[in-house]
């Protein structure tokens, strides 16, 4: 008995050792924006010191096992998934920590030894759809592309020669996000939503926002500076933009934003912190209560940002802000790069897509524009026009794979050098396609979505940038981390709705009805004329009074007969 217990104990400790060391960090980042909005970002990061190549995900400690199993089964190297409602306004809000397009977006790098990437991709999307209750199972080869420049691996890789055939990218612009996605998302966290910062995610409050985005990011990271071994990291974010008008007041507080205060940290978390960005404090002064534990200064890319830092302990915490002056209207100088996208043309035959890129920097800016255009909107490459301030410019490089009906989307990736202080427009014409009868969705007249373009760039300045550097897992890691090569941002444009020629679905029915009526009307007289002979009928000589008498007689007889029958049945 004792020996078995000992064996079990040893086995247990082995499994614990196998588990490696893992850590969980939770952070909440609050940034009042220059407009009447406030940006909040929940940052949950789980790092597990284990090797992705050999890990079986049979036993996990803090790492979500449900996700681990999917990663293992589908040979995933790196996974990024976001579900978003609303549009991030880059021009006025600056850049978010992670950018996401409206709807769902999924991009995955598979391991180099994956045999059938397309099959894995389809099944992975299916599994994820079950994991977070979204219709990701609509992702397949007909709407996925393998971009060469735009989505390079975010994590650490052994092989420096990247082969984009192991990458798949897809977006479902019409996907909705609601509590049904948040519920399973929360269950991936070590403390779920029972304790810690995640308990603030009350659906009644967070869906009352201008923009909300859920995301899951999985990647291998360097374990130390030498980077001979890797750890795996899963980051879960929630990004919310509240509108003061919806909140009712400018003096926000944790309780007003989320319906409750912070009721203590997650006991499994290594650290639990709240950061409030104080950069708007100089122009719109506000007071924080309670006083923060400390102020952190971060110098990045020539800009200093001041953060108020609160350590969340087991006590309740509700941060509130009172503005010292009445509201002022402030205009933020627009960020270096932002973009728009819209449709042109009219009628049911031809149309066009225009993407406008705004470079507000004093120097050239290299950007990569990626467009994933569905097969039902075939674009003509010869109509592609790139104009900066009215003059045609030559792109550095263009990658283009034409689509195939029902098989493959149109993939366009353009590397461009934007001239200083310029507006560049990229336009292409497309044709409206007739779909098959069964391919129309139930609400066909709503229109068909074209997903947003993705514009990637390395910006030289950190103005308006909150994004994390590549090696960083947490917000605290990003402080004082300058980078010589620039700061990576991605801009997602608006999604577009195109009206394809939609048939009248009741038409066959109408045609059948009409045709049958016409045939019936025509057939009757024709049949009569062709089969019956016209014979003259001799005119009867009876008088009117006689005829009436006869009728009356018949009627009386009938009445008598009826009475007799009734008597019988009774």
């Amino acid at each position: 008995m004792q020996t078995t217990a000992f064996v079990i104990l040893v086995l247990n400790s082995v499994s614990l050792i196998n588990c490696g060391s893992d850590s969980f960090t939770e952070e909440l980042f609050i940034k009042p924006l220059y407009t009447d909005h406030i940006y909040t970002h929940f940052h949950f990061s789980t790092i597990w010191d284990t090797d992705l190549q050999t890990e079986q995900f049979k036993h996990t400690h803090l790492f979500p096992r449900a996700l681990g199993e999917i990663i293992k089964r589908h040979n995933v190297q790196e996974l990024h998934l976001s579900l978003t409602a609303g549009l991030w306004r880059y021009e006025t809000w600056g850049y978010p920590i992670t950018s996401a397009p409206p709807g769902a977006e999924l991009w995955v790098w598979f391991k180099q030894d994956t045999e059938n990437v397309d099959k894995n991709w389809k099944e992975l999307a299916n599994s994820l759809s079950g994991l977070i209750c979204a219709s990701l199972n609509f992702i397949d080869t007909s709407n996925s592309i393998s971009p060469e420049y735009s989505f390079r691996p975010n994590g650490a890789v052994a092989d420096q020669t990247l082969n984009s055939s192991y990458l798949r990218y897809s977006a479902l612009p019409r996907e909705i996000v609601c509590t049904e996605n948040l519920t399973p998302w929360k269950k991936l966290l070590p403390c779920e939503s029972k304790k810690g910062l995640a308990s603030l995610l009350n659906s009644g409050y967070i869906y009352n926002t201008r923009y909300h985005s859920l995301s899951i990011h999985f990647r291998p990271i360097c374990r130390d500076l030498e980077c001979d071994v890797t750890s795996i990291e899963v980051n879960q974010y929630v990004d919310l933009v509240y509108d003061y008008l919806i909140l009712g007041v400018r003096n926000w507080s944790i309780r007003r934003l989320f319906g409750q205060g912070i009721l203590g940290s997650c006991p499994l978390a290594k650290s639990s912190t709240v950061y409030v960005d104080m950069s708007t404090n100089s122009s719109i002064p506000f007071d924080l209560s309670p006083e923060p534990d400390e102020f952190v200064h971060s110098i990045r890319g020539g800009y200093t940002t001041k953060f108020a830092k609160y350590r969340v302990t087991n006590e309740t915490l509700s941060i509130s802000v009172s503005h010292l002056e009445n509201s002022k209207v402030l205009i933020n100088s627009p960020p270096v790069l932002h973009a728009n996208q819209y449709l042109t043309g009219y009628g049911q035959e031809l149309g066009g897509i225009v993407t406008k890129l705004y470079n507000n920097h004093w120097n050239n800016l290299d950007v990569v524009v990626l467009q994933n255009i569905p097969w039902y909107v075939p674009i003509y490459l010869h109509t592609l026009k790139i104009q900066a301030n009215g003059e045609t410019i030559k792109p550095i490089s263009i990658r283009y794979i034409p689509g195939k009906l029902r098989k493959r989307p149109y993939y366009v990736e353009i590397a461009l050098r934007l001239p200083p202080r310029s507006t560049t427009s990229i336009s292409a014409d497309f044709e409206h396609v007739f779909l098959k009868w069964t391919e129309y969705p139930p609400d066909a007249s709503h229109g068909f979505y074209i997903s947003s373009s993705v514009i990637s760039a390395m910006l030289p300045l950190t103005k308006n940038i909150t994004g994390l550097p590549q090696g960083a897992s947490t917000i605290a890691d990003s402080f004082n981390r300058s980078s010589g090569s620039g700061y990576f941002v991605q801009v997602h444009t608006e999604t577009m709705v195109v009206t394809l020629p939609t048939p009248d679905f009741s038409m066959p029915y109408n045609v059948i009805c009409l045709a049958c009526t016409v045939v019936a009307l025509a057939f009757g007289p024709l049949h009569n004329i062709t089969t019956k002979r016209l014979i003259l009928k001799p005119e009867s000589n009876e008088r009117v009074v006689d005829r009436l008498k006869q009728r009356l007689f018949l009627l009386v007889n009938k009445f008598k007969l009826g009475r007799a029958e009734r008597a019988e049945t009774e």
Binding site: S21, D49, G130, V177, C178, E180, G204, F488
Partner: protein, 394 residues
């Protein structure tokens, strides 16, 4: 002497597959064998199989003796037990087939039932919820992430903890029939599968717009009553359910269950053929009807049921009398073997959870979590971050 003999036989017959038993039960129609213990059934089969000239007589005699003994003994007690023992788990398939904002009430209907079954103990993993449109986070909903069943906004049926398995365009007749019959494409996640067995009690709830003999899905296709009946028969043949409670809230709802021919189905419909099912009331704040009459009263009933409640399905079938429902509630119980008044509501709306009580407990609090680092992996290679964008400066 015969005791030892039968014992031996019963031992050898323990391996008789459940299927044979079941087939036998079916062929005999009414289960006159099951008035006694399972043992008897086994003996009976055996006598049928190995009957030869010599021992056939002895065996048949034995059988008759035992049958009579048992018949006299515990007929009344065991008939219920027999069925109840077979029931091992509960599932629910809740389907809203209507798209568009003005069909808010159908989403509210289905979520009302979802809320009840979840509260009564069926876990989310055993509830397949199909919702054809997003009402909770619809831009027209003035209170996002809520669906109310009442203009007073007492109960948010959407709740804070909800998992929708099929949503939007996924709600199609094909997916619904595939789900029921288990013919799903490879790679379908577990949460989108109905993993039932011959011990499962299933609650099937449908709501939407229907007509005589069909139910519309998303305003673009429809399932006919014959298709529905065939799907259920296929489930029965594949031993995918033990008993099935079929609820439907739609116009001319009774037409949907008329074609059923598989056993152990109890069906209830909100209206008879030729009748419309009506909605309950409108919420002026959102401008649409928010729940249908039948489901409103069903929820009212279910709100007063707890997992240990003694309320029966028989009571549940009378929740909406004509004076409040306006339509006549249709019931079909000829396929169902038990008396609905003896069936607890929790047989379909609750969940059987096998619970074992342990007499000894261990309170070992000295578990230490070792944080020793793992031995470095074998494939040692140098890793690096690649820049997020290629440099085009040349």
């Amino acid at each position: 002497m015969w005791i030892s003999r039968t014992n031996k036989f019963s031992l050898s017959l323990c391996i008789t597959p459940e299927l044979v038993l079941r087939q036998l039960k079916r062929s005999t129609g009414k289960l006159n064998l099951n008035y006694c213990d399972n043992n008897i059934t086994i003996h009976f089969i055996f006598s049928m199989f190995i009957m030869n000239e010599k021992n056939a007589f002895v065996l048949n005699i034995t059988f008759l003796v035992i049958i009579t003994v048992c018949y006299g003994y515990n007929y009344t007690d065991n008939i219920d037990d027999f069925f109840r023992n077979k029931h091992t788990n509960n599932w629910a398939v809740l389907v809203d087939t209507s798209r568009f904002w003005f069909n808010y009430r159908h989403v509210s209907n289905v979520l009302s039932i979802y809320r009840s079954v979840k509260r009564l103990g069926i876990p989310d993993s055993q509830i397949i919820l199909m919702i054809a449109d997003d009402m909770s986070c619809n831009p027209r909903n003035p209170r996002p992430a809520t669906v109310f069943n009442n203009a007073n906004q007492h109960i948010n049926v959407y709740g804070d903890d909800v998992e929708v398995d099929y949503r939007g365009y996924e709600v199609t007749v094909e997916n619904f029939v595939r789900l029921l019959t288990g013919r799903l494409p490879p790679g379908t996640p577990r949460s989108k599968q109905l993993l039932t067995d011959e011990g499962s009690n299933i609650l099937v709830y449908l709501t939407g717009h229907g007509g005589d003999g069909f139910l519309k899905f998303q305003d673009s296709e429809e399932i006919t009553s014959q298709e529905m009946a065939d799907a259920l028969e296929q489930m029965w043949q594949k031993q995918r359910y033990h008993e099935l409670f079929f609820m439907i809230d739609t116009c001319q709802a009774a037409s949907m269950y008329e074609k059923f021919y598989s056993p152990n189905i109890l069906a209830v419909a909100s209206s008879l053929v030729g009748e419309d099912s009506l909605s309950h009331h409108v919420d002026p704040a959102i401008g649409v009807y928010i729940i249908d009459r039948y489901t409103y009263y069903a929820l009212e009933f279910l709100e007063n049921v707890d997992p240990f409640s003694k309320k029966t399905i028989g009571e549940f079938l009378t929740v909406c009398p004509k004076r409040v429902c306006i339509s006549t509630v249709g019931i079909r119980k000829d396929l169902f073997k038990r008396n609905p008044h003896d069936v607890p509501v929790t047989d379909f709306f609750g969940s059987v959870r096998p619970v074992k009580l342990l007499s000894s407990t261990s309170t070992d609090t000295n578990i230490s979590i070792s944080t020793t680092k793992k031995v470095i992996s074998l494939n040692k290679s140098h890793y690096k971050y690649v820049p997020a964008l290629i440099s085009f400066k040349k």
